[in-house]
């Protein structure tokens, strides 16, 4: 069934098709439609789930973790300040190996108050042990939520499905709503090996001495390392069932490209326009959109970038006192490997300022002017 829906509703449909059993959420702009539609679905019986209308995002995540440890498939969604308020419990989710799936609408952090998009909210949660997917279309949002449950539940690691505020959250697109029976076949019910049950009582997450703690974290890392392979495997299965491939990266005209943009989220599609324009001018440009950010798909990124002569990373985020975060990550992926291209870093679109095909052309011109980057942050569109 094809439907014209907004990005936020794409999250709701994903959660519904995955047969989420418990939803605990708190409203925040620009996430509200996600939970509004889910409330309606729960109220009219379209979705057989318990919806806990909590009094804060902190409680949203706490309740999600409680439900997940009780053995229920659990979904929530938030944005920016709400995600920051959950921070403590994001560690609890991954450390507790609770495969909650959460939608995050990328919104800039206050102050000043902003409801518009940038990635500093989710990237500030980089080290919490969550899998992070960055989506660029509403179709990808629906599909990724379903896939995220499959990946998370197999490895017992929570997932964040991230989409840009307004550019995606409030933008309507045609979406093929996956068939429920096919989703059920793709995503079996959640049956965790360990859960809270009086039939087999365990104490979870108690005081853990130095003797044991490190092994638990080692296991989390080892399982994190399995995520890229599993995303590819479940992405191929998804293609078999639904005809759409899900992967770690989205390489657009990369194969013969000399000049590669690296992007994430909706600017990844804006970049395609610039790539086509540059190609028309005779420049062999391409765009590598990173979908899976955590764990970082090192091999796939290296493979995609190694043949290029230059790489320009666009960051709609910033690690103050360092550089754009994707820029750091890409450089770290290439460091120490033979024959890798120079990497240029650009920061654009903070606080929801538009990123246009023209910006990508400016990036191309700027990076073409020098053999190696003269500075680590090329500021795009900043008024100085």
């Amino acid at each position: 069934m094809r439907k014209v829906i907004m990005g936020n509703h794409a999250l709701s449909y994903g959660a519904m098709l995955a047969r989420s059993q418990v939803i605990a959420a708190y409203p925040i702009t620009p996430q509200t439609q996600v939970v509004e539609l889910l409330s309606e679905m729960c109220a009219d019986g379209t979705l057989d789930a318990k919806f806990i209308k909590v009094e804060s995002e902190h409680s949203a995540m706490a309740a999600s973790l409680g439900a997940s440890l009780a053995g229920a498939r659990t979904f929530t969604a938030t944005s920016a300040q709400g995600l920051a308020l959950m921070h403590e419990l994001l560690h609890w989710a991954s450390g507790g190996r609770l495969p909650v799936v959460m939608g995050d609408i990328n919104r800039a952090m206050a102050p000043g108050w902003s409801i518009w998009t940038d990635q500093n909210d989710s990237l500030s949660q980089r080290d919490t042990g969550w899998i992070q997917f960055y989506c660029a279309s509403n179709q990808e949002v629906v599909d990724t939520v379903i896939q995220a449950f499959k990946v998370s539940e197999q490895l017992l690691i929570p997932s964040m499905v991230v989409l840009d505020a307004f550019a995606l959250s409030h933008t309507y697109e045609v979406v093929e709503i996956p068939d429920q029976a096919k989703v059920d076949a793709y995503l079996p019910p959640f049956r965790p090996k360990y859960k809270l049950t009086t039939a087999d009582p365990h104490a979870f997450f108690g005081l853990t001495a130095p003797e044991h703690y490190m092994e638990l974290r080692y296991k989390l890392q080892k399982d994190m390392e399995l995520v890229p392979g599993l995303v590819e495997e479940t992405g191929r299965e998804f293609e078999k069932a639904f005809g759409r491939r899900l992967g770690l990266i989205d390489a657009y005209r990369c194969d013969d490209a000399d000049f590669l943009f690296v992007t994430s989220g909706t600017p990844g599609y804006t970049a395609r326009v610039a790539v086509d324009d540059l190609r028309a001018e005779g420049v062999k440009a391409g765009n590598l959109r990173i979908i899976l950010f955590r764990p970082f798909p090192f091999d796939a990124v290296r493979k995609a970038l190694k043949k290029a002569r230059k790489v320009a990373v666009l960051d709609r985020n910033l690690s103050y006192g360092h550089h754009g975060i994707f820029y750091q990550e890409v450089k770290s992926a290439l460091y120490g490997h033979e024959g890798m291209p120079p990497v240029f870093g650009f920061v654009a679109g903070l606080g929801g300022r538009d990123i246009t095909p023209g910006d990508f052309k400016e990036i191309y011109r700027s990076a073409s002017a020098t053999e190696r980057p003269a500075e680590d942050i090329g500021w795009i569109g900043v008024k100085r």
Binding site: V22, V54, A62, L65, S68, G71, L89, A203, G206, T208
Partner: protein, 296 residues
């Protein structure tokens, strides 16, 4: 033949808490857990935030309880429990009692938002606060449950706590939850009855249990029950129930209240108080008890 004298047990024999725990000598919180679990039985899941009980239970992989535990975040006992209940119900377990078990810091202070949220929604959980009147697990720092006049490591004797204990029971009653009761480790049968009643009630239930802490109160471990009893007999911690936020019933009627000094003088945390301080505190306790009697 000589007639054997036997004592009638007033509480079930079954123990859901084993003795190998990490509590201090004379810990009231430990007695509270033991009695409450006797009332709730094995079909119980416990959510314990940061508090003494996060340690008392024992380090991984040990646990002194034979029921499942979710050791949860400090401010999240009520919301975690609400999530557990929802998760159990949707997966077909409608029987198990889900209990949040938090100290006074996790209830009166950092956890009050989640607790208020759960109570307003009337989530089907039993919330128990074992109240030892300060942050005891971190080493005796004042909480909003610390009474007027008390010494703690953050309210030194030169600047003892000069604000009264927060009235958490009035706050919870104002949420009009179906059942609320105060209980004391000195009155196990009363606590047992209340925990049973709470178990059989639907919606948010709140038990506020007075649990003396010899380490923090600078009292003798063998005085724990005596102090808890004196707190009731002096009217410092009266025992009552409130149903639906409006019907108040006194559970242990005290005919003639003892002077609060009988209670204060057994504790190092009040040793610095002058006669006038004690007289002021006595007047406040008298007022509180009059208000309570009027509300019945």
């Amino acid at each position: 033949m000589k007639k054997e004298r036997t004592m009638k047990l007033t509480l079930p024999e079954e123990e859901l808490m084993s003795p190998g725990h990490l509590a201090c000598q004379g810990c009231g919180a430990t007695m509270a857990m033991r009695y409450v679990l006797k009332a709730l039985g094995p079909k119980t899941i416990v959510c314990i935030p940061a508090c003494c009980w996060a340690v008392i239970d024992g380090p991984f992989p040990h646990s002194c309880l034979s029921v499942p535990i979710f050791h949860c975040a400090f401010e999240a006992a009520a919301s975690t429990a609400a999530g557990v209940k929802a998760g159990l119900e949707i997966t077909g377990d409608t029987e198990t009692t889900v209990m949040a078990w938090a100290g006074d810091g996790g209830t009166f202070d950092i956890g009050i938002q989640a607790l208020s949220g759960a109570a307003e929604r009337n989530d089907d959980i039993l919330y128990v606060c074992y109240d030892n009147e300060a942050y005891m697990n971190t080493g005796i720092q004042r909480s909003s449950a610390t009474p007027y006049g008390a010494w703690t490591t953050t309210t030194p004797v030169k600047h003892f706590k000069n604000r009264p204990k927060k009235d958490i029971d009035a706050i919870m009653a104002a949420h009009r939850i179906p059942y609320l009761a105060t209980a004391s480790v000195a009155y196990p049968e009363d606590m047992f009855k209340k925990a049973k009643k709470a178990k059989e009630t639907k919606g948010t239930r709140f038990l506020h249990i007075y649990a003396p802490c010899p380490s923090g109160w600078k009292s003798r471990p063998e005085d724990t029950v005596k102090l808890a009893r004196l707190a009731v007999q002096t009217g410092i911690f009266p025992l009552y129930e409130i149903e639906d936020g409006e019907r108040t019933t006194i559970s242990i009627k005290v005919k003639e209240r003892k002077p609060i000094n009988d209670y204060l003088r057994l504790q190092g945390r009040f040793r610095h108080l002058k006669e006038q301080d004690i007289a002021d505190m006595q007047a406040e306790v008298d007022r509180k008890n009059e208000r309570l009697l009027k509300s019945c």
